[in-house]
Symmetry: C2
Subunit: 337 residues, 2 copies
DNA sequence: TTGTATGCGTTATCAA
DNA sequence: TTGATAACGCATACAA
């Protein structure tokens, strides 16, 4: 703003380039003049202009992060991971809240392109795959979280939760505890990771040889109210249900409430498992057993991966990174025998 | 990146300036050529370069948001408010997580200056006032959330929660319900808003004529574990305590747990009130009565204010904006008589 | 209504 | 080891 590289150069009696080199630790400046210039710049309070630098270098040390809702603890934790790693490597993060709104998400992409981000970390919940595929071409590097592309793209890397595996862990756990009447309160029917969890759930139930009416799916909105309503149906339609898995921890809280109101003790009558492991899970009573997802690690890995790809600019697609969820047993499931 | 204003100009057979004017809705272009250029640019897939524009105009349509911890629902909600309003006005938001770390917070300020943000929204929890004062001079416009400056600065506006008023509401409520033995589980002793709440609490107790040993403060870390530990002390040292206020809702959850374990029914024996009103408050049982703070509105107002100040560039200090918290009664306080 | 020249602050390129 | 000059892509100021 105020004081530029030209000012420092003049004050030091050298050319702008010497100052630039000195300040950026580049070769071609004697140690003494470098020292002198660095001190002088410091003393004059010189701060480089990122945008001027960006214009000259075509790199902005800036990345975009698009999330559906930053107030959702799942994405807040991802954002924390992204920001931590970005900070460690001197990147700054544009946070864009898509707000579950497709038009807004599209606008976010445009504005990130205008801002010339070096890369994008994208958590898209609802955008159709075709659109996803097309929009990624706006950016040199994209990390897609929990989504896949119909056709792989050299500049797009995918980071995914192994939801199928997670579902399998849950069902296997229920079976091992003789909880053979299982309901999955499965969240919205149009969610990506919800779809994978549904598929995994059904596959695991069949694999364990459960009878057709010993397992069922119930859709709901991804909130505690949604979980409550769906659990009412579940308890009515499967009176002998003894194991319930939920789309996420919020839904599980609603399920818990419904169980209480219908006189089902948790975990004695019904073993309850959530998903994601948000902080809430340990704050309610009984503490919620849940399928833990490393949200912070997801964000941190995404940023780490993005940084590498930006730095090396290596072409060619990378295989998707898969994170495996981990079943955490607390008080909403029966104690180990 | 690829295609520039020069390309469009060449393709349209006009000068760059005509293109610039046409695309930016400026005067001095005939409606027909404007139409033609806009269509052509669209067709060519032209996107302006924000950094080039920023260099030319010295405005970046970018603001910084510094928070102590984005995974804290309090700040996540503020961020949501900021981002919503920013989006509405075509600003982008750099999210910086200070991580309760002073050195990192200082580095965040530097990087935001380098990025040439048009303004800063700053939630600083621990930075000393003198430092706060000095650092604000880096930016043309600063909105300070829940902090004040020792000496007012023309480019800094303050947005505050009226914690003293909030404390008064809580104490008055307790008194009105004949809960005259009150503890305040007051969080960390070095927190800014904690200090205001402590002062307000003590003032209100005295104002209501409470005897010296009918009200007490207990410090703790701002977590449920902290609340639990402090509540153990409180219940031991004030066996007849019948009203407890907590630094925040998380602390209140810990207090609730301690009450349970010590055989105090909530709200029958102990009326419990939290603070902030995070989503958790309605998800536990009993649902938590709490001093609601409009976190989203805080963020939204901050961004709105910042935008106005940037747009008008009007000099002169603005009076601080004060938001009044609101007592919300749920199940952790006795039902109305 | 349109166009030309110039500058924004920095780095790349090439020359000394 | 240093420096002069030309980009980078756009907008401002001034001319035509």
């Amino acid at each position: 703003m105020g004081i530029t590289i030209a000012d420092v150069a003049k004050a030091a009696g050298v050319s702008m380039m010497t100052v630039s080199r000195a300040l950026n630790d580049k070769e071609g400046v004697s140690a003494t003049t470098r020292r002198r210039i660095v001190d002088l710049a410091q003393e004059m309070g010189y701060q480089p202009s990122g945008i001027a630098r960006g214009l000259a270098t075509k790199r902005t040390a800036t990345v975009g992060l698009i999330v559906p809702d930053i107030a959702n603890p799942f994405f807040a934790e991802i954002a924390r991971g992204v920001e931590d790693v970005a900070y460690a490597h001197d990147y700054n993060v544009f946070l864009l809240n898509a707000n579950e709104n497709i038009a807004r998400e599209l606008n976010a992409l445009v504005s990130l392109q205008v801002k010339q981000v070096d890369g994008l970390i994208w958590c898209s919940s609802r955008l159709p795959e075709a659109e996803l595929q097309e929009q990624t071409t706006r950016f040199a590097h994209v990390i897609l979280i929990n989504r896949t592309l119909p056709v792989p793209h050299a500049h797009v890397t995918t980071l995914q939760i192994d939801d199928v595996n997670g579902a399998h862990q849950v069902v296997t756990y229920f079976i091992s505890r003789q909880r053979g009447k299982i309901a999955f309160i499965a969240g919205p029917s149009d969610s990506q990771s919800g779809a994978k969890r549904r598929a995994g759930f059904l596959a695991a139930c069949r694999e364990h040889g459960l009878a057709e009416n010993d397992y069922r799916l119930f859709s709901c909105s991804p909130t505690s109210a949604g979980g409550y309503a769906a659990a009412q149906s579940a308890l009515a339609e499967m009176p002998h249900v003894n194991g319930i898995w939920s789309y996420n921890d919020l839904v599980a809280v609603g399920v818990l409430q419904a169980c209480r109101e219908n006189g089902r003790a948790v975990p004695a009558d019904v073993a309850l498992i959530g998903a994601d492991n948000i902080p809430l899970a340990t704050l309610i009573s009984p503490q919620l057993s849940t399928l833990h997802v490393d949200k912070y690690g997801l964000g941190a890995q995404a940023m780490e991966l993005l940084r590498e790809r930006i730095a090396t600019s290596q072409p060619g697609p990378l295989p998707p990174r898969i994170l495996t969820p981990k079943l955490i047993l607390r008080e909403s499931t029966p104690p180990a025998a």
